[in-house]
Symmetry: C2
Subunit: 205 residues, 2 copies
């Protein structure tokens, strides 16, 4: 692209580094910012820098946090015997949005993926094992993606935790609500038959 301004070119190049943002989208976004008032653009920039410089990770669950211990870990009404293991903060947000869970979390910071060079040592797995040993935890729920990496991670975590006294469970896999049977893949459908639940049980939310 022929930019009429180095400043513009530079800003577009920075935006185009973001995932899923190409040159054209970047240009559109940058021109939008250019049409905003100076304080608005300052606020936009400051929000990013402040986030990056001041963000912390909760000492207990490793979730993104503004303080040393995150709001969820610090909350009194949470059930501290129940720990949900997730990949990252987005999963915490997704589960929080369901309003179905009252336990606490453990954020791994990724999944084991030899292809991407991510091993157990790159994740907060040792910290989870420590928590299970030290804390009053009774059950650990794995809420990881139903992918190769998710399954590998669950397999490894299970090996590390199986000698402790905690109950280990994973979130249910099956047909999504609103899903039509004929479009469900065979593996999911097959599994949802073998892991069928009593009808009365399926009604309780």
């Amino acid at each position: 692209m022929n930019f009429s301004s180095k400043l513009l070119e530079n800003a577009v190049a920075e935006f185009a580094k973001l995932p899923g943002v190409g040159q054209k989208t970047a240009l559109r976004l940058v021109l939008h910012l250019l049409n905003q008032d100076k304080p608005d653009v300052e606020r936009f920039s400051a929000a990013m820098t402040k986030l990056r410089n001041e963000i912390q990770h909760c000492e207990v669950c490793h979730n993104i946090s503004d303080s040393k211990v995150c709001e969820i870990c610090a909350a009194h009404k949470r059930d501290r015997t129940l720990v949900c293991v997730v990949e990252d903060t987005r999963d915490v947000m997704a589960i929080e949005n369901t309003n179905q869970y009252n336990g606490i979390y453990h954020v791994l910071g990724g999944l084991i993926s030899p292809m991407d060079g991510i091993g157990p040592a790159d994740l907060t797995i040792d910290s989870l094992v420590e928590r299970v040993k030290a804390d009053e935890i009774k059950e650990v729920i794995f809420a990881l993606s139903a992918t190769m990496e998710g399954d590998t991670t669950i397999f490894y975590l299970h090996k590390r935790l199986k000698d402790s006294a905690v109950t280990i469970s994973t979130i249910a896999r099956g047909i999504a609500f609103g899903g039509e049977l004929e479009y469900v893949d065979e593996i999911t459908l097959g599994r949802s038959i073998t892991t069928r639940v009593p009808y009365e049980h399926s009604l309780s939310r």
Copy 2:
């Protein structure tokens, strides 16, 4: 969404103000930035602030520029008798990318749109009339979108310029290269028949 951090929530809110960026996309982009090194995020933020604070508009053609007169207006090899009137800097870039145009530009900064409250006074139309009066301009080419707003703007500009000595033209409208005839809308197809060109002429690029 339940954010575990105010800093994160704030950064996502700023990103979500951009056109076409929703909460989920904003979160994805912000988490990506959060995974970058601090200097990278500083550079991203600085590029936006610097752009907004230091950008100028060319005194001659009103295009976005790093200096008082943009590179195109300052270039010696450009044909100063030919002025292409466009809506914004993106159109200048698009035309420059064709490598077919050697004249100079005039950036209106928008199109006349009563629906959006944009009248002739909000655009650089007076400046264009001044240029046509004062300069050595021989031809003005309208390269505006083929929309209601584009046509309205051309109509108004033509009224303002028709008493001057310049030739007024608009870019050709018709079937795009690679376009299949059966999918072209009737208006475009009809117009492309009435404004047909000699075959030899259509071969020259």
